[in-house]
Symmetry: C2
Subunit: 444 residues, 2 copies
């Protein structure tokens, strides 16, 4: 009876509920991965927890080899965790409720609204239904297309299986691969390049954007958010392709030895994967320091809101740039596509970026202490990759100390939950009791 | 006649004038340092430009050894450039006008107001007079006190000379030393530790703070800015001492071999020097990776407004933290010491931090390309040090390529002028012609 009351009057806020949900999925995943039929050999608790976290947060950083150290059963568990993490635990929970035929209460709707960044509560349930079906259809079609490439190469069994695995991993921006060198074997393969990037760009642009594009006929009738995401993604990806190409085409370890066609495919792939897919077709650790630093920025920016990707989000990044430019020009509010961006959106974006920078900075500091022998660039790269749930690595993941693994686990979790969500979950809301006079401070 | 009109109707904004002034001082300094009697051997144009920029921007990064490669004449030139840079070119220019007995026009006053961050134009001239006398008196007293320590050690000539040099270098947060290992010879010396840190903390806290403290009797009557700077400096320094001590006291290369007393002196010195003095009493390159990363943060935060230091400024840092915490708590405006911090101050702080991060990021990217063989940590440290006009180095400065030197020169210049000043100088102010409806964007 007391237990019932506890449930009825729970005081979890939506962000807290989201965090707890993800946490439970990770714990559950860890337990299953510890089962003897999950792995070909043995696995430590820490490595199982790391793998479960990496899968649920759709990161893709690995301490053990997905293809050889896990059995097919273990790999399917990883696939399910990716699906849970990609669609969002909330969506998943709601779907369960729908399947059980129960109506969704207001509390769950608010929760879902938070997860999908949807402003109106009405239609959210319908949206989730569409999202679930849409993702399944996307993954299925992509798997079929991929199997045209991989069945001839690997035969029916593994060919179809690896197509499904990589389709799910790509659409959910998980970056898990059954090959230890990710997709390096297909650096110049147009089919693999196009299909995989199409999957993770689609998954990463955000479901509300896709929904808007599918239900709106003309560009000018699209929502402001959709317009910014479409144009922003196009510009950022285009700029990234050019920069990666220019920085790498003379590097003998990466693009130097390839034909021009393969160079362009590889530049394209490495330009779009950091925001936050995590597959790679060239060895990340072989790239020039300049490309690495540029990749850090892309990993920090990340994907779109309400997507399978993380990072501070492309819109956050663009809003901040726009706000600073507006401030410098002495104007009042940022304007884009003939719409004003309100102060509350700018403040929110600022909070996200500041908290994100703080989280990444503390992680780098902690990793510097836990991995004193590791080159600094590898540490910085690993921290950005984990926070953006990207999954690219310069090779540090496997060499991490136990403390280092714990730091990355926490970082992936915060990265996927969203630093702002976490901060809200921790912060206590309060109303000011007194009104104070304005003060003056010089800044800079 | 045309020339006269050009001067009368100049269209330089104060920030542009400030940037041009600093530029002229650097060019002038470079030319003098190229004179044969400035150096004991020969010096390249690039190294002369680097030294002149480092001195004028009170940074302290050196490509040639100040003590051995420059003659006393060259060192005096560096001292004068430090004095010009430390007090600000504007202050210096105004003083010249005062000495010449001319009255100061409104245009110059506005310029000065910008340089000193003073809000009211009235009293600025008087303030400058006090500033000039105050700095001279401070440097003189400190030089006398230092000579009590250094005359017995080095005799009258070099003893007094080195006391004056280090007094001026410390008060102006320049970090230039006549010893190639900076103040490492005095790691446990209480007199040197106390005098030098007192000088650069006083110089770095901002003249308006000092003036306020000297003319106000009670703490609660102090200006808000003064209160924040005093309490903020105390807390940040205290935390920094503890963190540096904890991270380094077992490191055999730095504090490990010292007595507990010397360990505390060394922790104190290395905790307060990064915000932006630039002297050191232990080898920076020998510190643990954790201490290095923590030092990056201190270098980025920097000193106070209207001071001889740079960085984004302690108040900027605190305002941002406060604003984010306020946002998380769902309150309207940040409150500190019973005063509200207005939106325009928060926006300004945000612009400073965003532009600063952008500048540092681009520099790290550029240095990664120009110094492909250099360890990443050395590059990152050098960029933060140059931007904050700190002058600490892990040893990269002397090994920089010519392109790398150019990058650091530009970075020191931007760091001292202030990224916001520079951005304003570049940005075109404009009023919006149309009022747009509000749009909605999801961020994060
Ligand atoms: K990923
Ligand atoms: K300095």
């Amino acid at each position: 009876m007391k237990m019932m009351n506890l449930f009825r009057n729970w005081t979890f806020s939506p962000p807290q509920f989201l965090a707890i949900g993800f946490g439970l999925a990770i714990i559950f995943g860890t337990l299953i991965l510890m089962l003897p039929w999950s792995t070909t050999g043995t696995i430590t608790w820490m490595n199982a927890l790391f793998t479960a976290t990496s899968a649920t947060t759709v990161t893709g950083l690995v301490v053990v080899d997905t293809g050889s150290d896990f059995t097919v059963f273990g790999q399917v568990v990883i696939m399910i965790l990716i699906k849970i993490g990609g669609l969002g635990l909330m969506t998943f929970a709601i779907m369960t409720v729908l399947v059980l035929g129960k109506r969704i209460g207001l509390k769950e709707r608010v929760l879902l609204q938070e997860a999908l960044n949807q402003h109106s509560i009405g239609g959210v349930v319908r949206l989730i239904k569409i999202l679930f079906i849409f993702s399944m259809v996307m993954e299925l079609i992509a798997a079929v297309l991929l199997s045209f490439r991989w069945v001839p190469e690997y035969g029916w069994g593994f060919g179809i299986y690896t197509s499904i695995f990589h389709s799910i991993s790509a659409f959910n921006n998980a970056g898990f691969s059954l090959w230890s060198d990710s997709l390096s074997g297909y650096v110049g393969d147009p089919v693999i390049n196009l299909l995989i990037t199409f999957l993770f760009i689609t998954g990463g642009i955000g479901f509300t954007v896709l929904y808007d594009v599918m239900t709106t006929k003309k560009f000018r009738f699209l929502a402001l958010h959709t317009k910014i995401m479409l144009v922003g993604t196009l510009i950022v990806n285009l700029v990234a392709v050019i920069i990666i190409f220019l920085l790498e085409f003379t590097n003998p370890l990466t693009l130097g030895g390839l034909s021009l066609g393969d160079q362009i495919w590889a530049s394209y792939f490495q330009a779009v994967t950091p925001r936050t897919a995590g597959f790679n077709t060239i060895e990340i650790g072989d790239m020039n320091p300049g490309s690495i630093v540029f990749t850090l920025l892309l990993m920090f920016i990340g994907a779109g809101s309400a997507s399978t990707g993380s990072g501070v989000k492309l819109t956050t990044f663009l809003v901040i740039i726009l706000a600073v430019m507006t401030y410098l020009q002495g104007k009042q509010e940022p304007v884009i596509f003939s719409r004003r961006i309100g102060n509350e959106i700018v403040n929110r974006a600022m909070a996200i970026v500041v908290i994100s920078v703080t989280v990444v900075f503390i992680s780098i500091l902690a990793l510097s202490i836990s991995e004193p022998a590791a080159p600094f660039m590898l540490i910085v790269f690993e921290a950005f990759s984990a926070f953006g749930t990207v999954g690219l690595s310069m090779g540090l993941t496997g060499d991490l100390s136990e403390l280092g693994k714990q730091i990355i686990i926490v970082l992936m979790f915060i990265g996927r939950i969203g630093p702002l969500t976490l901060a809200f979950a921790l912060a206590k809301s309060s109303k000011p009791l007194v009104s104070y006079p304005k003060g003056d401070v010089f800044t800079g």
